[in-house]
């Protein structure tokens, strides 16, 4: 009887991401000594939020997959999506096959390890970007599975330790390079997949210009600022990219997917579906993070004194709003130049640019570059990082063996290197 109950608990609650998240939030509420009413509300929102997330991400995956398949049919190249949420969904689908799809469990355990590392070592970084932590958990688990062939407990432990060290150590390394922007004292650093690449960007920027010639003195077109709205950014950027691919493919090939729908309209539909998917997804993410993050922060405040908070990228944009937009613009140009280079050298894998690396990556790297090399630094460094990001994404997809990669520039630099070494050591892909 006891065994049956335990079994039910493990297979039905613990391995279902939504209920698992509800359980974690329940513990958080008990820890914060919330009353029964607000505990009930919090738990419901965490569970429903996770369910909304997976519906939104499913939309993204379907739309991207359609375009990738069309791309592959026409050009015979492997198309690769660089949208992080699409990758999360695709990876979890595959991880479900080996019963490792509940990456929230990796995330929560890795967070605890991060707290312990911060408590007992001199490096006090606490990773507070919840949605990135969720994505990273999916990415790392999937990569270790694919590249090293790990499964079960070994995969779980490997993913937990890798995530924890990445969240704890790399934001701390980057922190030194943010001093021109934040000063010595501010207990902040970036908690995102732009740590090593952020460091590279600052040093590239230094080669191109002087920080005294700040991008903030430039006048930029007001049009660029419309991309700050994620719905608008996704709609415009993904529609342009997808319609371009559809036009290259031509009506005959697209018709295999589109049926009687006009092929250009079909491309537009897929682009706009990306905006829909992201909007739905984010309302879910917001819902469960609203319950999770304050509990985690309350916990870490009590446990770790003098913590350095590793936080999401837009926190830094206010240190250089103009530099952010300039960085975005030249990341776009750089990534498209990267696509050109891949085509020129006949790469069998083609990475398709996507909004999150372009906008969130571009803006953040732009601000960092400005602090070290002014506007010339922003232009030079983000352009080069754009090329590296897109070529690295294609290479990562090849090394791991997938059509979906996370897209942010740490995955195209640091993790590409790590996965290449691991694959060489372990010999084979799953």
């Amino acid at each position: 009887m006891l065994k049956a109950i335990l079994n039910f608990f493990i297979t039905q609650i613990f391995q279902t991401p939504a209920y698992f998240m509800g359980l974690v939030v329940l513990l958080g509420c008990l820890f914060l000594r919330k009353d029964a009413k607000s505990t009930l509300i919090s738990v419901i929102k965490a569970v429903v939020g996770m369910m909304i997330l997976s519906i939104g991400a499913g939309q993204l995956k379907t739309a991207s997959q359609n375009v990738i398949e069309i791309f592959t049919m026409r050009l015979g190249l492997t198309g690769v999506s660089t949208d992080m949420w699409t990758a999360v969904y695709a990876y979890i689908e595959e991880l479900n096959l080996i019963n490792m799809g509940n990456v929230a469990m990796v995330m929560i355990t890795a967070w605890v390890v991060n707290l312990l590392l911060a408590k007992f070592t001199p490096i006090k970084t606490i990773f507070l970007t919840g949605h990135v932590a969720y994505c990273d958990s999916a990415f790392i688990t999937f990569f270790l599975y694919k590249v090293c062939g790990l499964t079960g407990g070994a995969l779980f432990v490997g993913a937990v330790l890798t995530c924890a060290v990445y969240w704890w150590l790399f934001p701390a390394i980057l922190r030194r390079f943010l001093t021109p922007m934040l000063g010595e004292e501010t207990p902040l650093t970036l908690g995102h997949n732009l740590c090593i690449s952020g460091l590279i960007t600052t040093q590239l920027a230094r080669l191109f210009g002087k920080k005294e010639e700040s991008a903030e003195n430039l006048k930029l077109s007001g049009w660029l600022s419309i991309f700050k709205d994620s719905v608008v950014a996704y709609s415009i950027i993904m529609s342009v990219i997808y319609v371009t691919i559809i036009l290259i493919a031509g009506p005959e090939i697209v018709a295999k997917k589109a049926g009687s729908t006009n092929y250009i309209v079909y491309g537009l539909n897929q682009g706009l579906t990306m905006a829909v998917g992201v909007y739905v997804l984010l309302s879910g993410v917001r819902m469960f993070l609203n319950e999770l993050i304050p509990a985690f922060k309350g916990f870490s405040d009590r446990l770790v004194k003098g913590a350095i908070a590793a936080v999401d990228s837009p926190v830094f944009w206010s240190y250089g709003p103009n530099a952010a937009l300039l960085g975005f613009l030249f990341t776009v140009l750089g990534q498209f130049a990267g696509v050109g280079l891949l085509a020129l050298f006949g790469s069998p894998v083609m990475a398709i640019p996507s909004v999150i690396p372009l906008f969130f990556g571009g803006c953040t790297l732009g601000v960092f570059a400005n602090a070290w090399g002014g506007w010339k630094g922003v232009i030079g460094a983000t352009f080069i990082m754009g090329i590296i990001t897109i070529c690295g994404s294609a290479a990562l997809a090849y090394v791991v063996g997938t059509n979906f990669v996370p897209g942010h520039s740490d995955w195209s630099t640091l993790w590409l290197g790590v996965m290449f070494i691991l694959r060489t050591l372990f010999g084979a892909r799953v």
Partner: protein
């Protein structure tokens, strides 16, 4: 005492605005203000009735021009609680006294 409805807004409404929300809640309770703080993204924030919207200095203009009737308060350092208190006194409380 007036109960304030406050919005916090960033591009996605998931990461950085959550940090600002927690810091603001701390500042409000220290100042003894009765306020609910909710997180939004740029598209969502215009469709709700709010007293004030705290947002990044990089996004303030975008939010202000979206047709919201709320006071838009640009923040530079999300983690500088003194700055947040100052901004609250200057923008939110001053507007209430008119």
């Amino acid at each position: 005492m007036k109960k304030y409805k406050i919005g916090v807004c960033c591009t996605f409404g998931a990461g950085s605005s959550m940090m600002l929300k927690m810091n603001l809640s701390q500042v409000f309770s220290k100042m003894g203000l009765d306020a609910t703080v909710e997180v939004y993204d740029i598209s969502g924030v215009t469709s709700v009735e709010l007293d004030a919207i705290y947002t990044s200095a990089a996004l303030a203009q975008q939010v202000a021009s979206s047709g919201t009737s709320a006071i838009v308060i640009p923040v530079v350092n999300y983690f500088d609680l003194a700055e947040l208190e100052e901004l609250t006194k200057k923008h939110l409380l001053a507007a209430g006294q008119e």
